[in-house]
Amino acid sequence: MSTHTDDQKMLQESAASFLAEEGGIARQLRHWRDIGCKDGFGHGLWKQFADLGLTGICIPESHGGMGLGMTEAALVLEEIGRNLTPSPFLQTAVVAARAIDGTAHADRWYPGILSGEVVLALAVDEGPRHAPEQTALEARRQGNGFLLNGAKQFVVQGGSADMIVTAARTGGSPGEREGLTLFAVPKDAAGLGIDNVALVDSSKAARLTFADVTLDADAVIGEVDQGWRPLSRALNAGRAGAAAELVGVAAGASAMTVDYLKQRKQFGKFIGEFQALQHRAAHLYAEIEIARAAAFKAAELLDSGDERAQLYASVAKSKAADVASLAVREGVQMHGGIGMTDEHDIGLFMKREAVLGELFGDVYYHREQVARLSGY
């Protein structure tokens, strides 16, 4: 299946018009940035996501969700990307929802996600580069529960989250996939330090410190020492989702740039008449189409449980980040001086791309995965 079903097209159209109207740059991104909002997004809009049922896309029907999959989530994420809409959708409704799927934590948190009253986050990275196998945050058994010590960073929306899905080491050593365990860490856990940091794109990510954070045994998500599987499931959903959002960022930046090429005149003609710019714009168009195909291929394979899903999650994340990077660089360059100003929106695309490109592994991380999965 490579074209979308009628239902998917309807979802895409309604998400597109909702986000263009309510999620636009002036109304959301610039507004929350300029008033110095501590969350970096608006809870009112998150509630609107919920009212439209969008927060339940990845939640099973048995829990009151839409019971759809990554393909549908990706359709929404492309529109989020196009409008640079700040929203907990990816972290909460896709990544965290996938991490707790099928566990007791789903009963606890799904209702709040469905109503738009809850925000969740995922804490994986411990250094500046994504390396989930290297997780070192220690979770030592203590009585019936666990004692957590260590640090996390780049926990997107971690400062706004009611609960943080945290990858910790209960066994093995850093570098091993065995011995990882996922924990549901409440925001008010004693010993949990949260440093809410503003990123280059005005979104927020937390640096967390764990100093003897005590958790009950029922804080474990899934099985002790078996956290790699649910973590990968969540990360791969995040990668395919971030890829789709990056495609939206690329398409948004490219559309803005092509419009500019048709309006701006120099030397008595539209700059879009110059072949040097036409060919670059056409090359970018081709690249965006390819990145979109890769993103939806990854989503499809994740939905069907295909064995190539892991490979394509990396292909999609890597390709979409490469292409979105090209789109924003060409965008700023082709806009000329105005592209360097804060007043113009094109620079905001460049900032968003930088963050999404890093999220859940950058192009270098994912090229390495593709090489390894291909046996070289």
């Binding site: 879009g272 390819i290 890597s318």
Partner: protein, 384 residues
């Protein structure tokens, strides 16, 4: 079981029973491809048998109507057949410009009589076609062609020269763009079909940097072509030509997937050990796998009528540039081994020859620059 599942299991069983084991081995070189035609010598009994059994079912052209020698399969069935053939590594039973280029144009523009006459011959691999498009003075500016066809009452009299005619020296018939009016550039072109054995037709192969000569110069000296061998109306051949170019670009774009037609990564074949080369190959493989997803999506959208009419240009551009990059990296990975030109060890310099040949991919069928111009103008709507 749904109908399509039934079709799949029947197809799988039939292929198992009928596809000769030799035809399930990867295509190693040009010599393994079956082109068919009046003068075709089969490489093996297996190649002959495979073409025969597939043609009998209409599966050399699975989605053409049955009355014209096709399989009459629905898009879904055709996809299943393709998947099942890929599953066992079955080679295409027949490759030809009749299938990939002329056939689709005849299906759209041909008269009923033309369809019934020409299409079954193409489907059975009896006639090998070549394409008479480019001329010495008309490359990227194809519509500037000068080969002339004069109306002599009961026949056309053709005079002129074509160049880059693929396999003209091996082809039985030619589909050829000719000028039938000087009044208008694009509006003075007609689309003729004629036998390469007609008196006055001669060909001369052009040796390429790759050492092979797949292209020819083709000369027409007072060639008489029967009046009815025109496709579409007189002076309306440019529409046929453009439609056919879309199919040609689609076919050339497929080269981005490598000669195996699958999405096998380059790294898994060449096993790079140098860390910097490995990194470049990994970056390439990401692009190649992404393009494989694009090809699938494009095929589905094209069949569903959802693709932009100019999108084959995008596919052609991306696919050929990718194939050139694949070959550059294959040469780098091969080191000095890849420089050998005719040794047995190097299978006759296959890596180097394929590398050199790939340079033509972004020239033939409209250069990359022409494709980018089409995308800029027709898809992005940039001013001319």
């Amino acid at each position: 079981m749904t109908e399509i599942d039934t079709f799949r299991s029947e197809t799988r069983a039939w292929l198992e029973a009928n596809c000769p084991p030799e035809m399930r081995k990867p295509i190693r070189s040009e010599a393994d491809i079956c082109w068919g035609g009046r003068n075709w010598t089969f490489q093996s009994d297996a190649q002959a048998r495979w073409l025969k059994v597939m043609a009998e079912r209409g599966w050399t052209v699975p989605d053409w109507p049955r009355e014209y020698g096709g399989g009459g399969l629905s898009p879904d069935e055709a996809r299943v057949l393709k998947e099942e053939m890929q599953r066992i590594g079955a080679r295409p039973p027949l490759t030809s410009f009749g299938i990939s280029m002329l056939g689709p144009a005849l299906l759209k523009f041909g008269t009923e009589e033309q369809k019934r006459h020409y299409l079954p011959q193409i489907a059975r691999g009896e006639i090998r076609w070549c394409q008479g498009y480019s001329e010495p003075g008309a490359g990227s500016d194809l519509a500037g062609l000068q080969t002339k066809a004069e109306d002599k009452g009961d026949h056309w009299l053709v005079n002129g020269q074509k160049v880059w005619t693929s396999y003209a020296d091996k082809a039985d018939w030619i589909f050829c763009l000719v000028r039938t009016s000087m009044e208008s550039k694009q509006g003075g072109i007609s689309f003729l079909l004629f036998d390469m054995e007609t008196p006055g037709v001669s060909t001369k192969p052009i040796p390429l940097i790759s050492g092979s000569s797949p292209f020819c110069e083709t000369f027409f000296d007072d060639v008489k072509v029967p009046k009815e061998q025109i496709v579409g109306e007189v002076n309306k051949g440019w529409n046929v030509a453009k439609y056919l170019l879309g199919h040609e670009r689609e076919m050339i774009a497929g080269m981005g997937l490598g000669t195996s037609g699958s999405s096998v990564t380059l790294g898994s074949v060449v096993k790079p050990t140098d860390p910097l080369l490995r990194a470049e190959i990994a970056a390439f493989d990401v692009d190649a796998l992404a393009f494989a997803a694009m090809s699938e999506r494009f095929a589905a959208q094209w069949k569903a009528g959802e693709a932009h009419p100019a999108s084959p240009s995008m596919m052609k551009y991306a696919g050929t540039e990718l194939n050139k990059r694949r070959n550059e990296l294959a040469m780098a990975a091969g080191g000095s081994d890849a420089l050998e030109w005719d040794s047995e060890r190097s299978t006759g310099g296959a890596t180097a020859r394929t590398w050199l040949r790939s340079k033509g991919n972004s020239i033939e069928g409209g250069t990359s620059e022409i494709q980018l111009g089409i995308v800029a103008k027709h898809i992005l709507g940039l001013p001319a």
